[in-house]
Symmetry: C2
Subunit: 364 residues, 2 copies
DNA sequence: AAAAATTTAGCAACAGCGTTGCGTAATAGG
DNA sequence: CCTATTACGCAACGCTGTTGCTAAATTTTT
């Protein structure tokens, strides 16, 4: 989402985004469905639909015959009218994906990054990967931009990588700006876990509730979707979930504290007790639910996906067993359906969201 | 904030709310100040200011002479043009406050509630308290409504108290509806800690960043202001911060888990070691900062306010000592300036926010 | 076969808000 | 007295959604 002033241009962007969100979650939709969902008048919805159709983002897809009465036109999203690319920059690998307007991953490629790679080396790898994936044809013309999800800490608003844990050449790098120059594409930069949760949000449409994506991969992190937007925090540093203390007298963590979720989980995993490691993670997840009251928890990350059912069972069981839970207090726990692509795909969807999602008002 | 469709009525409410937010944080303001802050054109700001002046919410307050050039009109908020009342319903006491449009507390009264009081008893106490506080004069006419902050769990959207810890007669009580009938006022209902953080947000204006209010009073709770709005969670249950595990092998908590912040803190406090209790709370607060990356933490609650400096020092020190903190990663820690009134005052400001704050768009 | 009922969609004008373009007002300095 | 500077107000415009109405496309009833 981009930051805008409240005027009629905002109204246009906002209501178009709502119609597109309806289009992402339902295979087809009608004017009446959108009226119900948005509160706009039928006439207003017709106008919005007409603009989106003219832009090629949606199209008519048949009619529904009600028995008596004029048939209703049925519309659908045009998924291949726009694409975005996403990159997940990890310490040793670069994963690139191509995603369509509906959030479907069309291509995915993993390539190695040199040990302790530099910004220049990353940009070269990105350029090569993009050329390989989309070439210079028609697809390039429909490419909205590139999203980059990477390790932090970073400053999302200014497009800066402040530091990157485990990488030496990455202090205060203005990655978004230099990437836009190098690649000739709009670039969006965010923390890996924030990109990840955006994948779920984009694909679920505008009704997606408060949620977290928990990533277990070279550490533990969490991305949050709260109140209809990604939660990044005051300094883009939210999500250091692995560095929350769950064992006051526990082992010293690399962050300097004692008994952090990450180090307690790591010790259990290194001892080979995956079941215990999963239960430790579950304690942290229930802590999140107590604090934030989330509707969805998505589990992801390479280290978790080596034992997916163990982790899923442990977390689901802990959520259910939380003694205070009444029947109205439910949280859906699932493994990410995007598997290893979740971060890269989410980064791509952040680009789509920025262009076709709900514009974000900038109060003051 | 109320939930609305995106049309020109929304634009009006939104931009008026921005101007009023500027008016709350600065003693006086000018058209140019609002232009800078909002992105609107000078002409648009003039129109918004004219409407607010006609409604009596702001007024001219002199001129600024720039040397050469036409003097600029200076405006100010009219704090006593509107009031709201707030109630903090605890297990044994009812605190009522009267708050003006700027968020200033004018009157405050604490009265006892009967042990295990019923909804009827509460409504009678509220009616008596309101009559005593505002009577039937001119003030009553400027009263926007009553906010109620109380213990949960509750359902904010539907105005239901689902249960109230430690009270027997409070299962699925439609408190907002019955209070509106009994008192003849619009009523807003929310969790106590959510009301509390709203007090800080209203008084700081629209630039208020991500923040938490930590309340230590018959347990530990947290209210969150995230992304420009109160965070309530999927079931209005967010903020059960005291029931997050910080000591895996610690004592069993009333909630059924082991080593919750609340029980570990309580054992330390009962052992008379307030410094240790404060340090335990600080561990929990830093956990929140790691998870949410907050700009502000406000400390409140009767049990904390018995030893305010001990708690403030412990939390401030823990935040500062967090080894991973860079100089760009700062969080302001403070005691609530509203003292014991914070919950009731916040509940009143929720009413003001609902009427004069930023309208909340209801996507779908 | 024609008319009535029902449901959907489109046209045109309207309402409201912010923007644009322009002119007026209120000063100080030359 | 004129010029320059800064601020504000008026009127028309642009854009979006709303309102009011008509037309289209069916099935059912007469």
């Amino acid at each position: 989402m981009t930051r805008v002033t409240a005027d009629v241009t905002f109204l246009r962007g906002y209501n178009q985004a709502l119609v597109m969100a309806v289009g992402r979650t339902a295979r087809t939709f009608e004017r009446a469905t959108v009226v119900e969902a948005t509160g706009l008048t039928p006439q207003a919805v017709s106008k919005v639909i007409a603009r989106l159709t003219a832009d090629g983002l949606i199209r008519p897809a048949g009619v529904r015959r009600p028995g008596i009465g004029k048939p209703a036109v049925v519309y659908e999203l045009v998924p291949d009218s726009r694409y975005a690319m996403g990159a997940h920059v990890a310490r040793r690998t670069l994963r690139l994906v191509l995603v369509d307007l509906a959030g479907t991953v069309h291509r995915s490629a993993v390539s190695p990054l040199p040990r302790d790679f530099t910004p220049e080396q990353l940009l070269d790898a990105l350029a090569a990967g993009i050329d390989t994936m989309v070439g210079i044809g028609d697809l390039r013309g429909r490419l909205t931009g590139l999203g980059i999800g990477m390790i932090g800490p970073l400053d999302h608003a200014n497009g800066l990588v402040r530091d990157a844990h485990g990488l030496r050449h990455w202090h205060d790098v203005p990655l978004r700006e230099i990437a836009e120059k190098h690649l000739g594409l709009p670039v969006h930069l965010d923390k890996d876990v924030t990109a990840g949760i955006t994948a779920e949000a984009w694909r679920h449409g505008a009704t997606f509730g408060d949620a977290a994506l928990i990533m277990v991969e070279s550490g533990i992190g969490g991305g949050f979707w709260l109140g209809g937007a990604a939660h990044r925090g005051a300094h883009t540093n939210a999500g250091e979930f692995g560095h929350t203390v769950v064992d006051l007298t526990g082992p010293r963590c690399v962050c300097g504290r004692h008994g952090c979720l990450e180090i307690v989980h790591q010790h259990a995993a290194e001892a080979g007790d995956i079941t215990h490691a999963a239960r430790v993670l579950a304690v942290g997840v229930v802590n999140l639910l107590q604090t934030l009251d989330l509707a969805h928890v998505v589990l992801a990350g390479a280290d978790l996906l080596r034992h997916p059912q163990t982790y899923l069972s442990a977390v689901t069981e802990a959520v259910r067993a939380d003694a205070r839970r009444a029947d109205w207090l439910s949280t859906r726990v699932a493994l990410s359906s995007l598997g290893g692509d979740v971060i890269a795909a989410g980064a791509a969807m952040q680009v789509l969201d920025q262009h076709y999602g709900i514009p974000e008002l900038a109060p003051i």
